[in-house]
Every structure is written in C-alpha cells, then in structure tokens.
C-alpha cells in the first residue's frame, strides 16, 4: 500500500524537501516503517531519536498505518 511521508528539520534534509510516497507491505506499523526508513536512508541511524505522528498525534511503534495515511517524521524537537 502507499503512504505519504512528510518530514521536518533534519529529517527533511535526509529524505528531501518534498512529500514522498512510500510503497510498504500491508500490514505495516510505525515500528516496521522505522526499520524501512533506516534501510532506505541510513542517515537516520545518526539521529538522536525519531518519532512519528499520524493525524497530528505522536504514535508508538505498534500503531497500524493505513493506506493513504499521512505519516510525519518528527526528529528531536528543539523549540523555545
């Protein structure tokens, strides 16, 4: 199935500035996606920690992604 990936901060520099569509097996949870990303973009291994958001909420590894979901890669935040 296809999912839409959006990235910010250093994650955007790694996967590129545009939204990218990623083809993943179904079912796929956030933990699976993390492993896939690290294979596609080994740079992520150097990042302190990566979180993911779906529908504007943080989601844990067990969260099931659905076809068409917009998944946002959240590198370590540093606001303020």
């Amino acid at each position: 199935m296809k999912i839409k990936l959006i990235a910010f901060g250093i994650a955007k520099e790694i996967i590129g500035p545009d939204e990218s569509n990623l083809e993943v097996k179904n079912p796929c949870n956030i933990g699976d996606l993390k492993r896939i990303l690290i294979i596609h973009y080994p740079e992520f291994k150097k990042i302190q920690s990566i979180k993911f958001a779906v529908n504007e909420d943080y989601q844990e590894d067990y969260f099931q992604i659905h076809e068409g979901d917009e998944v946002v890669i959240i590198p370590p935040v540093s606001g303020g």
């Binding site: 520099e13 504007e56 935040v77 540093s78 606001g79």
Partner: protein, 138 residues
C-alpha cells in the same frame, strides 16, 4: 482563555501579558525566550525555526490543558515564532495568570519545559561556517 499561536512575525511581550489579565488574578508570570549570541562558546549569527504547525498547536493545547487541570490557571498565552530570527529576537513567549503567584511560576516553567520536549518545532543554529539542527545528534 487560551491564546495559542505560531507566528512568522515578531512576537510582543505586552500582547501575551494583555491576553491573560483577569480581575481574579493575583499574579502573572511571563517567560520570554530570546536568541542568544552564542551557544557553548560558539558565536551564533541567526536561528531558523520551522514547525509542523497544526500539530504544534495541538501539542501546545495539551500543555494548556495540563496547566488548567494541575494549576487551575485562569488564562494562558503561548506564542511561538517561525522563520529566521536575529540575535535578541524572541522565539517564544508564555504568559500565565493565576489567583496566587506560586502557581503561575510553576505553571509557566512547566509550560516552557514541556514545550521544548513535545511541541514539533525545530531550531537550526546558523554559524559563520555552517548550520546545526539543535538536539538532532547524540
């Protein structure tokens, strides 16, 4: 009242203060973050902030929920700026009003501490010879 905004224009301390004024308030605490001219001894030229805005607003809303539940605050105003900021400019302002001052200090400090941990905003330090995404690397 909660006044939560992500803005790409200069922030104003008086505005956040005015948003939390209340006749039942005994104290207002305002935290104003400012861009420092150096980090770990290295001269900073500018800071660039970007945000995943809808989620940032949602996460700041969760902070406001906690301030109400845990400290019974009257009002909160949180403004965060995005874009490129010069030294001395203001990335963030948090103002909180409460009936008694102790709660305002605790709530305001909780708010900025939590914002820095949970709200999807990223800061890039711009030095003379390069840039660094803050906290990105171990």
């Amino acid at each position: 009242m909660r006044d939560i905004q992500v803005l790409d224009t200069p922030l104003n301390t008086q505005s956040c203060h005015d948003a939390v004024v209340d006749p039942a308030a005994g104290g207002i605490v305002v935290f104003v973050g400012t861009v420092r001219n150096q980090t770990k001894g290295r001269k900073v030229l500018q800071l660039a902030f970007e945000s995943y805005v809808p989620m940032a607003l949602k996460e700041m809303g969760k902070i406001a929920d906690t301030l109400s539940q845990k400290w019974g605050i009257l009002h909160v105003s949180i403004h965060h700026r995005v874009g490129v900021l010069e030294i001395g400019e203001i990335p963030v302002i948090i103002a909180v009003s409460t009936p008694h001052r102790q709660a305002a200090f605790e709530a305001c400090q909780y708010a900025i501490d939590t914002l820095k941990k949970t709200v999807p905003i990223w800061k890039k330090e711009i030095f003379e010879n390069g840039t660094v995404w803050v906290s990105a690397h171990p």
